[in-house]
Point group: D3
Chain length 167, copies 6
């Protein structure tokens, strides 16, 4: 098994530890992730049809996702603290789901990838949507949270196979 | 539309705001949630077969989930701060997924439900698993995050239809 | 000097310490505070005239204020951790200032007043407005942050003299 | 409207998002801010005359301000995390106000300005002073919080017109 | 082995989890802890003889300890969030050590003991003293951190044997 | 007294403030620290003999220490925020103490030393061990927390005299 395929956060003795990134280059690193909140059609209608309300539900979830990305290293035990240069979260209505699709983006000039920051932004935006609509629909499900693409760093660029859909 | 079906976190003007829970009773409230990390069979084997390693991957994810539940109100903008009396996270191997299934539990004697705390514990445990195995498998997907059951409070007990599976 | 007029956070030796609130009653306590961001007329016009934009600037500041209220005890060294039952922040345009007026509200069933939570919500909402408009107007000033009214607790109700205006 | 005059935290669709600073240069950036706590003369006397006490009130507020500056990006939704190289807070008695004047300073070698860090330090120091003296004087007002000067970065140096006073 | 003697934070399967405290009574619970920073005599003299300086070193360490106590549940994975009603930290010069002795106190009306809060206050106050004097004396040692006494709760009162000294 | 021997966190007026590190070089800096938890032989046996349990007690303490290192600047008032490139915590059984020995390691490419991060990791790992075993043994003592070695930066390398033992 090559080192690129091992569980990098476990050291030789099997203990969980942070990876030493000090020898890595400072390069521009980016990652995009997505996630979905599936809900009943009438819940989605409630979010879609209330104009002011919809604005505030989506704005609140977007802000929550951005703020959570900045705290990724506090939540995920072995993540490094990062000086993120950009985080963005977009949310769109997906009538066929039915529900909402969240897409997040993180960028850094530094030594470690930012997939975890993008995934954390996505997860917390989805949780916030759940929170704001849960009185109307307890059965909502958060799903399909995955990395869409990453670039930068020694391991190079990577993206999901476009034929694969998580939802 | 009855009030129990509206987006409770939006006030009359459509602004997002915290719900006033001061008139609610202090009752014992519980919630259970689940989530899944789907991965390649060889990634799961790597986690399952390394005894010491597996212990540490699962222990790290469990601890991360428990700690995150305590910070739910810092992450989800309109959640109330809570004095949780118990949080638990269990993780088990699911060979047919293939991947890991996370189940979380939160308990409180207080004025608000603890679904968001259970969901947050689940989400962050899943993110931590992703983080620890991502060098081996970038295509892992986090899915099926949902509330399984809740009890306590005015809205009474609720649980998912057992015939419905998220995964 | 009566004890109600002393600097309660200093003990007999003059050291700063938290006040012991364990003997206080659990009562409903509320506080309202206000604050202002004074800016150039053209900055206010930019916020007022961009419909989508205005929504997002004000929603972001409101969310930031609510989230900050929940973290008051982490920021203000001698504040007690509180189980807030409600926080609200409203922001309105004040053409005569010209600028924005922020009003915040905090509520608790507990042993300590919530003035600091209301003031912190107000301050952070004002700081967020400054942040979002600072590229257009560096000379904005945050002013008039004060408690408007408080109720509950042994010291009873209090409100500002309505003839006094901070701005 | 030139881009330097727009609300930079809103993207083309009007959504609030973090500005991408990855293309900015790493330069030394500094900012100074000030703020005031206006109080009754007898409240100021209480702070001024108790020697040990005064020391601790001012030391506590100064420490609170410094610690808050380091958490600016957790409080202000669209602020970037920064590796601050210096934060200072000074507090002096202003008999004519009457009250206290807080001045803060932040410094960084990095890609973004530090005005928000200086303003946050100032605001939290003022809130801490309010907290410690509020039992004696509920009517205190926090005012005149503004940036005094900034230097570094593409937008160059800036300072308030010395003829303008906030208080 | 009686249950009062087991490792209560491990469940039947050996996994670390929070103890369920929901069935415990709300009683007044208190704990006192102590700790020591041993240093060279000339380092202690530097702290003792600089009057203003000494005030600020000790005030800073005291504030840091109090603030840390409020965040114990964020630091110690299986600690419950608590609504502390009082935290105090006192620091005194111990010429015979030579060094400083820190004593902390925490109080709560609630369901769990506050030993961890007292110990965390002590530890962080000691770390802060180390930080402020480390340029003069890298060899300082933090030692003797222990609970002196606790009261309240089902397990009753407990205190160290007065004949035992940690230093 | 040379500047290298003064209390660097106090400015000329005796106020506690952060040291300006902007003129320091970005170099690789490392620090190692140790600490001990002394306990009754039967408490140590309980940790040592329960295989699954021991794994989880030590894994939990190690994770807590690593996470705390990343939050050092939030806990210690005058510490700078740092972009740590590596943190590790190891815990071993010491039958002669009897108890556990914690050793921590922190690494950074940056402008400030990482002794405080190593010491904080050590302290919080020790506190977590205390928390998990306290029901069995309230008299445990945390001791001997000290820096073992540091390297990097203008002040050069330093290590404890190997003949000196803290325990």
């Amino acid at each position: 098994m090559t080192s690129s395929k091992s569980l990098t956060h476990l050291d030789a003795s099997g203990s969980a530890n942070m990876v030493d990134v000090s020898a890595k280059d400072d390069t521009t690193r980016e990652a995009r992730a997505e996630g979905f909140v599936r809900m009943k059609p009438e819940t989605l209608a409630m979010i879609r049809d209330g104009n002011a309300k919809k604005g505030d539900v989506l704005a609140t979830a977007r802000i929550a996702g951005i703020m959570a990305a900045k705290r990724t290293h506090e939540l995920i035990p072995l993540c490094h603290p990062l000086v993120l240069s950009k985080v963005a979260v977009d949310i769109e209505i997906d009538e066929t789901l039915p529900g909402l699709r969240v897409e997040s983006y993180a960028k850094l000039s530094g030594k470690t990838g930012v997939e975890m920051e993008a995934l954390t932004a996505c997860s917390v935006a989805c949780l916030t949507i759940y929170d704001m609509a849960k009185a109307a629909d307890r059965g909502m499900t958060i799903s399909g949270i995955r990395v869409l693409a990453k670039s930068g760093g020694k391991s190079g660029d990577w993206s999901v196979d476009p034929r694969e859909t998580a939802e």
